[in-house]
């Protein structure tokens, strides 16, 4: 993996605390990855999440391969004590997440804004070079498009205000039995202020949505929706932000379970795990990358996936370790077609060769292959016609001896984990 320092354009960046969600079993890979790729410090993990501090910019963060999603950390604290059944009391504690320490919320929001602005600035800089060329042809065109844009902006602004009013109504209706009459009044006041403020652009002109996940003891007393509402109202009261369920500026992510209470802001709209360069995913991309990283692919290696399917493992490997020759083999027409599409979409056709052939009859001389990685199909979705032992024996024959770790019993255990990963998607 290439470890990258900051960009030439960014000044001395401050250290920021993030966390990532990770599939079960991938946490060690992620911890190693943030240390190597981002020079991260204070790396710790708690079942399904890895917390770390780094001053890397968005471009480097985007490169994380073993994480599901990336978040800016607002708060991490001990789980809520749900032993007392007093719902109102716990409700207060939840509100205190915000009210006890509004600074850390505002702080994180401004960090988030900075990160996005810096990224947008870089994009604009690189776009500017492209535009300098375009300018030579037709300045009139730019003027016209600007006018159209201004009109569009106005329209979206109007739509938003309409949406908010509707939502405010819906919210108040749903919360009937939850709020005291005093709180209801406060809420209305808050909304009125917000509506007035909508005309003038201000710092607090932020729309948000709360995404909540509850498990463990907390989930028995509160539904995720309820928690979302409690937090949402508290945010509106504290900061004057407006709720927008459809297209908010900021998403607030809160996860409550028996081990921790964590609040964060997702950094990217799409999860890191969904790769821009993979058209059709087979095996989960994070797992595929992790497998490839275990293989220790050295420059000049011949890497084989004898049951490559859509080629996910080879794609992840070739993207990260481009100095090797990759070969994928499969018996299925459909899978190979999908693989070819994937290779094309990713621009990796030069690095990965495809063969239509059976794994028990691979046309490879003995000891010709350096690395073999595969997600061996078993179980209900894909069936393996032949005996797995004979396949493993064949694989050993081709291997040049150095790398056997992919096919040990441990690896088969890892592949078991992978099929369960398909279900535990975050």
């Amino acid at each position: 993996m290439a470890a990258g320092p900051g960009d030439r354009n960014s000044g001395p960046a401050a250290s920021v605390r993030f966390f990532c969600t990770a599939g079960r079993g991938l946490e060690p890979f992620l911890m190693r990855e943030v240390r190597v790729r981002l020079q991260a410090k204070q790396v710790e993990y708690v079942s399904g999440k890895v917390f770390f501090t780094t001053c890397s910019d968005l471009n480097m963060l985007k490169k994380l391969k073993s994480a599901e999603r990336l978040f800016l950390l607002i708060k991490k604290q001990f789980p809520f004590n749900v032993s007392s059944v007093n719902k109102g009391k716990i409700c207060n504690e939840m509100q205190r997440l915000i009210n006890d320490d509004p600074e850390s919320w505002l702080n994180t929001i401004s960090i988030w804004k900075n990160l996005l602005e810096l990224d947008a600035k870089k994009k604009r800089l690189s776009q500017r070079d492209a535009n300098l060329l375009k300018r030579k042809m037709g300045e009139n065109d730019t003027v016209i498009t600007k006018k159209l844009k201004a009109e569009q902006m106005q329209k979206t602004q109007e739509n938003r205000e309409y949406q908010l009013e509707k939502q405010a109504e819906e919210e108040t209706l749903a919360q009937g039995n939850f709020l005291t009459s005093r709180e209801k009044l406060q809420l209305e006041e808050c909304q009125n202020e917000a509506a007035e403020a909508a005309g003038t652009p201000s710092q607090n002109d932020l729309t948000f949505r709360v995404s909540c996940r509850c498990s463990g003891a907390v989930a028995k007393t509160f539904s995720a929706q309820e928690v979302g509402r409690i937090i949402g109202i508290a945010l509106m009261k504290q900061f004057g932000w407006k709720a927008d369920l459809r297209d908010p500026d900021v998403e607030i992510f809160i996860h409550l379970n028996d081990i921790y209470s964590v609040v964060g802001i997702p950094v990217f709209r799409a999860p890191l795990a969904s790769r821009a360069y993979i058209r059709t995913a087979g095996l989960r991309s994070t797992v595929a990358w992790a497998m490839a990283s275990v293989a220790e692919i050295k420059a000049g290696a011949l890497v084989l996936d004898p049951m490559c399917g859509l080629g996910t493992i080879l794609l992840e490997a070739a993207k990260e370790w481009p100095d090797a020759h990759y070969v994928g083999a499969d018996v299925s027409d459909a899978q190979l077609r999908g693989a070819r599409d994937n290779l094309k979409a990713a621009g990796l056709e030069d690095k990965i060769a495809l063969l239509q052939v059976s794994v028990v009859e691979l046309p490879l001389p003995s000891e010709s292959v350096d690395v073999i990685i595969s997600d061996i199909p078993f179980g209900k979705k894909f069936k393996l016609g032949k005996d797995i032992k004979s396949i493993l024996r064949e694989m050993e024959r081709w291997e040049s001896g150095a790398q056997k770790d992919e096919l040990s019993q441990d690896h088969t255990a890892t592949t078991t984990q992978q099929s369960s990963h398909r279900r535990t998607v975050q």
Partner: protein, 125 residues
Amino acid sequence: MKLLTHNFLSSHVKGVGPRGFPLRLQASEVRIMPVEFNPDFVARMIPKVEWAALVEAANTLSLGEVPTEPIQGYEQNEDFLRTMHHILLEVEVMEGTLQCPESGRVFPITRGIPNMLLSDEQTEA
């Protein structure tokens, strides 16, 4: 299918011994696809190349002058590496056949992918 890939293949037809290697290449459609030159990568591939097979395949495709063996100090010789880069990585056989020299069995290459299934078993997954 690139010549680098072809070079790694051997015949797997049942009953064919070590002489099953290499597979005889015939091409009806060849494409030249520019590939970014990575001298380090090419240099690492050179020791793995089966030269007789490569020369035979390159000649079938009428690629012109093909080195018959690595020259002394090839790692630093950019001209040599560029030539090998072109032959190994930039020539794509899109349509053609691979033939086992022993059994005579022929395998088609379609849209760049060789189909070497021995039995007619093929799973639609």
